[in-house]
Subunit: 123 residues, 2 copies
């Protein structure tokens, strides 16, 4: 196997799928989450080094961040710094979301600043 490319097939409707170990990620932990209606994360928490970005794909709910409550639903995207105390609640439709965890301030360049076009390739 070429370790430069790792691949898997997952059930995107499973309660929680974590990609770091599955794909041997080296820059992020990524989870695909499906919370049942009217449930919540089991505890409040914050992080030591990592920022998190959430992308809500379906459903609705609430997110608690440092004493503030924000309504979330399909298309809500949000970032929280490592220190933020957080918890998520799913509403009556449940909640499908991705959570991307990366080390804060680790990105130095991206997209056109980091990419290089390859020419003369046949496919």
């Amino acid at each position: 196997m070429n370790s430069n490319f790792t691949f898997a097939s997952v059930d995107t409707d499973a309660p929680r799928t974590e990609l770091h170990d599955l794909l041997k990620l080296t820059g992020a932990e990524i989870s695909i989450n499906n919370m049942a209606p009217d449930t919540e994360a089991p505890f409040f928490h914050h992080h030591k080094l990592n920022e998190e970005c959430y992308i809500v794909l379906e459903g609705s709910g609430l997110v608690y961040t440092d004493g503030t409550e924000t309504a979330i639903g399909r298309g809500s995207v949000f970032r929280m710094s490592s220190s933020v105390v957080r918890k998520i609640r799913a509403g009556s439709e449940g909640l499908k979301f991705l959570c991307i965890q990366c080390q804060e301030n680790s990105l130095t360049q991206f997209t056109f600043g980091d990419g290089a076009i390859d020419e003369n390739i046949q496919w």
Copy 2:
């Protein structure tokens, strides 16, 4: 505004939505992509520093990586190292996917290794 928490609402069906600038991400660039049926990325490319992870949410297509073609569809998840020459093609159903770009080897700890539980909070 508390810069520890950034929030936006996006159309997850738009052709391409980039979250780095929108949410002031510091550890990743994340894009939500909807390719029209039977289209492909405009060029082959690789990266200098960044690994990419893809999550296919709907549709089907093909991904080219260093001369190899892999069929992809709903639930396909894959990682490619920075050096991999790549291109994506959407099949007849189109292709909805996320692409997460992070600096290779930047993650030092995650989830239970990086998280800290906060107790005695009322919500």
